[in-house]
Every structure is written in C-alpha cells, then in structure tokens.
Symmetry: C2
Subunit: 245 residues, 2 copies
C-alpha cells in the first residue's frame, strides 16, 4: 500500500508541494494518498480534509501504547512506523511496518476499547489523524469508504490467520523460506530478494531469534537453494526447492 511517484498526486484536484520522491508535505496529501479515500470526488476529499489534524512524531516516539484509548485513526503521510506487541511474558513481536499511505487505529476504531499494541515511529514521521466519531460519521455518509476499509481489514485478517497457522505448524526453516518467497513475489523482477528489515526485526516478525535466522539461512544456502549475496540481499536459486523446505 505504499505509494510511488507515478501514483501520487494523480487526481484532478490540486496537490501542492509534492516532493520528488512522491511524498507530499501538506495535510491534503494524507487524503489523496490513501486508498481508503483517494477514490472520492475532490469536493468530498476537501470535506474530509477539514476534519483531519496533522501530527508529527520524532523517531522513537509512540503514537500509542497498550492501554491507550483507541479513538483516533492515523494515516501515515511521511516516515515509518513499527507496530509491535509484547506478549504476556514480555517478549516483543513485530506485527508490521507502516509506510506512507498505510493507516492504523485498528479495531479499537470500531469498538470502544483500548490499544493492545505499540505504534512507534522509527523515523521522524508525520501523520494525519481523524477522531473516531468523525470517522464513523464519514463512514455513514460515504459508504464506499467502508468497503475500502473492509477490504483492507479482511486482507489483514487473512494475512494474520495465515501467519498464525504458520507459527502453529511450521518449523523456523520453513517460515523463513516462505517469507523469502513472499518477498520475491513483491519485487518479482529478478531472483534477488532485498530483505526489508534487519535480522533482529525479521526474527521478531517470524517468531524466532537472530541466531536461528542466521543459521537457517546458511543451511538453506548449503543445500543450494539460495545464495547470500550480502547482508540484506539473497538470490533465490531454486524456488520449488524453497517451497518444499
């Protein structure tokens, strides 16, 4: 759901101050950026714009933490945000990263509860926010927004359930192999995967340790399925083989 310079600012409406890298600096960009809003008419976007409030977070600051009341929708306009959870026993698990165009606020937006996860800005970040009550009114007024949000939620749910099943049933080696394959699907141009995060984060995301990731990658390399080109780059040599790890 991230946005590149081709797809940014392509609606008829005015969109000032776009940067060369495709991100827009003004508040308005939040609306035109995100799939849940950018299908609307310019006039409707203007209306939504009047509701949003722009906030900035410095690297390291939390947008929300567990226990915080969840009454705000956050739309990322610049920067990078890490969503993670602490388990009952205190271990951290990475859920996802948010890039410009992504949103968070989660369930709590629709039921009156508190957050259970952390949202931490890992770069200096600016977000657009809408309160729950205003967002609910928007959903009632423009039902097509709901369909977009439902689509996004159902996709996340599918992903999450798939991840759950993998944790419940697959070995670490298999989880790593499947992750590589999914990275390849996204890039898909070459056979080379660029790992989108550090080993530490990847370990947290896959429910294992950096040590195990390192070891398993070496093992997979030794049987000829991949080649570790550099720290972050991995060449897939045998896709079918990987699928059967």
């Amino acid at each position: 759901m991230s946005v590149d310079s081709e797809t940014t600012c392509n609606h008829k409406h005015q969109c000032h101050h776009c940067n060369s890298d495709g991100t827009c600096m003004d508040d308005e960009s939040c609306i035109s950026l995100v799939p849940i809003f950018n299908h609307l008419e310019p006039a409707q976007m203007d209306e939504i714009m009047s509701l949003i409030r722009s906030l900035k977070f410095k690297r390291g600051e939390n947008l929300y933490s567990p226990g915080d009341p969840a009454n705000t929708l956050y739309i990322v306009s610049e920067g990078k945000i890490k969503i993670y959870r602490l388990s009952e026993s205190g271990k951290e698990q990475l859920i996802r990263f948010l890039r410009p165009g992504d949103f968070t606020g989660e369930l709590a937006l629709f039921s009156d509860t508190v957050h259970e996860a952390y949202a931490e800005a890992i770069e200096d970040t600016s977000v657009c926010t809408i309160t729950r009550s205003e967002f609910n009114e928007l959903l009632l007024k423009y039902p097509s927004i709901s369909l977009k949000v439902l689509s996004e939620f159902s996709h996340r749910l599918e992903q999450s359930e798939k991840q759950t099943t993998r944790f419940a049933t697959e070995r670490v080696e298999t989880r790593i192999a499947l992750f590589l394959i999914e990275c390849l699907d996204r890039d898909s141009k070459s056979q080379i995967v660029e790992l989108p995060m550090s080993m530490r984060d990847l370990a947290s995301y896959l429910g294992t340790t950096p040590e195990s990731i390192s070891r398993k990658l070496t093992e997979i390399e030794e049987v000829g399925l991949i080649e570790q080109i550099s720290n972050k780059k991995i060449k897939i040599l045998d896709l079918d083989g990987l699928l059967n790890v």
Copy 2:
C-alpha cells in the same frame, strides 16, 4: 456471538417457528439472529430476507474449501461449523467454530479472491447465504451494516494478532493457561471451566499436540493451580498463579 434463548426473537417483528432452544427454523431467523443485521428496521430486514437463500449442509460437508471462489456470505442459523486451515506442510490448524448467529465468507467477500481455509459442517447445519454483489449493495444502501461488520472484523483481527503473538513467543504451557483463563472469562459464574472442544481440537487450536496438552494439564494440576474434575471440566484454583505460568 452465539445466541441463547433469551436474546433470540426479541425484536418487534414477527418471528415464527422458534424452537425451545432458541434457534429459529425459518429463513427469517438468519436476519434477526445476527448482530450485523438485527439492529435494522423490520422493513429493512424484510428487504434483506428477500435476498437470502437458505442452504443445508450435512455433517461432514464443506461449505467451502481452499481455492473456491469466495463470493458468498454465510450466516449460520443452525448447527456448528469448523473453520480450519492446512499449512503449507499439510498440518491442520483450527481457526474457530461458528455457532448460530456467526458468519463467514471472510475477506474474500471484499476482494475478488478465493478461500484459503476450510469451512466444514461438523453437525447438520443450515445457513443463510447472500451473494457478494448483493451484500455489497446492502452495505452501500445501509451503511450501519458496514460498521457492524467492521467491528466484527476488527475484533477478529485483534484476536488473531494476539494469537499470533502467543504462538511466536509463549511456551505451550503458557498458551494453555491463557486459554483456560479466557474460557473462565466467558463463563465467569463459577471457577469451573468447561472445555468447549476435544483435546484433539484444542491441540490444533493451540498449535500443539494432544499429548502435550494432557501432560501440561497434569503438570499444572500437580503444582496446585487447577483441578481436573473430569475430561472436559477443569476447576481453577489459583488464577493469579495461572497468569504467571
């Protein structure tokens, strides 16, 4: 989201042929049963009723399987349905059970994809179905339905992510303890938990084996945190202790 005899058929609209156990046999019951619809006006429910088609599945039949196009919303009116997945390596993982009032159709309802899970009737079951296109029209016409579905989805997503984190970070013993506590929250009247499924299913749900469940329960009993009254009944003796397992 299951429904008992107190809460069934309590709207002003007519609702014929209700059974003593609270389930209704006629098509209409599907609509009045489910939280996503039962807040509507009687006239609106009638309109929806005209769209639904009632289907019956015998015990063991699948409502859908992975690869099936997902273009139908299923609302359970009678019976019990098991949603489960097969991992890439072929192991089964239980996702959830559906009881009267619950619905499925998942993500696929909002993005044009195929199912990834199995939905199997484990009792003789009757469901009400609506096609995707008709359901989408309903959502656009009655935006309040979207809010209900969003609320349900976000709740499921929260649950799923919590489960993912547990699998990723907690030991089997802890997962079992947390499961018992959540069962207690639902019953909550006494300190006695009635396991809602077989050991086999529980193992599948918790990402472990029946052997491990059996062993761990015995261990937890030996340190005095619980008492195994019978096969399916467990008495919680020390809730705080369980939380720290």
